[in-house]
Amino acid sequence: MFRLHDVSYAYGDSRTGQAALSHVSLDVPQGGFRWLLGPSGAGKSSLLSILSLEARASAGMVEILGVPVMQARRGALARLRRRIGSVHQDFRLLADLNVFDNVALPLRLQHRAEAEISHEVHAIMKWVGLENRLDALPPQLSGGEQQRVAIARAVIYRPALLVADEPTNALDERQAARLLMMFHRLAELGTTIVVATHNDAIVRKYPAPAIELARGHLVRDYT
């Protein structure tokens, strides 16, 4: 679950920077799938950055998975990040690590046993259909394959909160459907999932509660 109360966010200096979010308040319970809608520049990526702790709100109150983010110490934020998965539009894969090591990265940072890591990575890579590309480096993969690796890395540690920014962009229709099925399955298991998109067709095809932003303001909350 996460709660935002009167949250604002500006790029650069908090007082003089360009406002990306203005006075957004949200209260989302644990579990379930939600769309995050809005045109380009609406503030979707900013909201996802705040939810994935990659940006700090300029003002307001942010509580994620029971942790008051604005007051939390750095160590507590690091522990909280291990419970949050995120998928970015630019994939953020490390070019000098192969697919296996990229996907295993979150588990290694949690000091899991190597045998367990190997088992988990093989299982998730089989699910995303890349079990034969474990030794490939990211630059050797297509955009869709890189997207699937990034998704595998985001879900391998079964996060309590998963945020994804346009995750279906680089995928074909079949892969996109498969991905959304997986997200729904994770949501049923208790993960809170927020997926940003401006693809109306996919939203109509896979209806779910939605949060809609426009010019940094919350315009509709169907959660």
Partner: protein, 318 residues
């Protein structure tokens, strides 16, 4: 476990290559070893001068075998008056603070004056008796003693060596200060070098760091990984610096031996170039400890500097 350590995406071998940093830290360690050697040598000479030459008083007694003048209150059963040298030696034996009073033998005296005697060709020159008086460290008996001696043995001359030894000790003190300053400068430069290398490494791997930070890596984990790498490199550099400084210090100790090891034939013997390590015993123990301590000191400096630099850099991240 090893796989975990080397596959976290930081790629520290790229971020902190193993040539630049060890070379610079090695050079700094080398300079620090030389500076510390200078400081230790200055301290050692200062000690020698303060506790050796500084405690020696030379006394000249002209006409040593002539009878001394009688004291104001002569002893009741006095025989023939004692010689001047006997009076001086008696007085020295009863003066507190004096450790020894050695009258130079005729042979010692002639050996001492040989260059002048040989030059003049004069063998029958009347020579004064010379007494080498050693006092306790920091004790200068000259002022009181001279007045007493002058009363009984007129013409006695005393030369206390503390005048020049004090000046030399002051010089040694300032040399120690310079050595300390040099070590501080070397340490400052070493810290700056480590900081610059670490920042360059952080900049090189900033995307990977931002990623593993977003995946939950703590500041302590990231700074620890960088600090471990830098410590290893600094340790290696420090070791090289110490090892390379050793032959230089051996040569310097050989060159300085005539000043620091007077009268020690083993120390002043020419170096055996086939076995230079045989001279290690001639180096002060403090210097050997310094050479041993330099690599861990370099490693510790690297570890602390890197921890602080990385943690400060990570503060930019949310």
């Amino acid at each position: 476990m090893a796989r975990q350590r080397y596959h976290d995406g930081l790629a520290l071998r790229q971020a902190l290559p193993g040539r630049f940093l060890p070379f610079l830290v090695g050079a700094m360690s080398f300079l620090a070893a030389l500076a510390l050697a200078g400081g230790i040598a200055a301290h050692s000479l200062s000690q020698r001068w303060t506790h050796g030459a500084g405690t020696v008083t030379t006394m000249q007694v002209p006409a040593p075998d002539d009878p001394a003048s009688r004291p104001a209150t002569p002893a009741p059963s006095s025989g023939p008056p004692p010689t001047r040298i006997a009076v001086v030696l008696d007085l020295l034996a009863t003066t507190p603070g004096i450790v020894s009073a050695h009258r130079l033998t005729d042979a010692e005296l002639r050996a001492l004056l040989a260059p002048w005697i040989e030059q003049t060709g004069e063998q029958t020159l009347p020579l004064p008796a010379v007494i080498e008086v050693r006092a306790l460290p920091g004790h200068n008996p000259a002022p009181d003693l001279l007045a007493q001696l002058q009363a009984r043995v007129p013409g006695v001359v005393m030369e206390h060596d503390s005048v020049w030894s004090d000046r030399l000790a002051a010089l040694a003190g300032s040399l120690q200060g310079c050595a300390l300053l040099a070590v501080l400068i070397v340490m400052t430069v070493a810290v700056c070098v480590v900081m610059a290398a670490t920042r360059a490494g952080l900049q090189t791997r900033r995307q990977a760091i931002a990623l593993i930070h977003s995946l939950g890596a703590t500041d302590g984990y990231i700074s620890g990984r960088f600090a471990s790498r830098v410590t290893l490199l600094a340790l290696g550099g420090g070791l090289c610096g110490s090892v390379l400084a050793l032959p230089m210090l051996l040569v310097m100790s050989q060159l300085a031996a005539p000043f620091s090891a007077l009268g020690d034939p083993a120390a002043t013997a020419p170096m055996d170039w086939h076995d230079p390590l045989s001279r290690i015993d001639a180096l002060p123990h403090a210097l050997l400890w310094v050479l041993l301590a330099l690599p861990p000191a370099a490693g510790l400096t690297g570890w602390i500097t890197t921890q602080m630099t990385v943690r400060a850099w990570l503060r930019r991240l949310p």
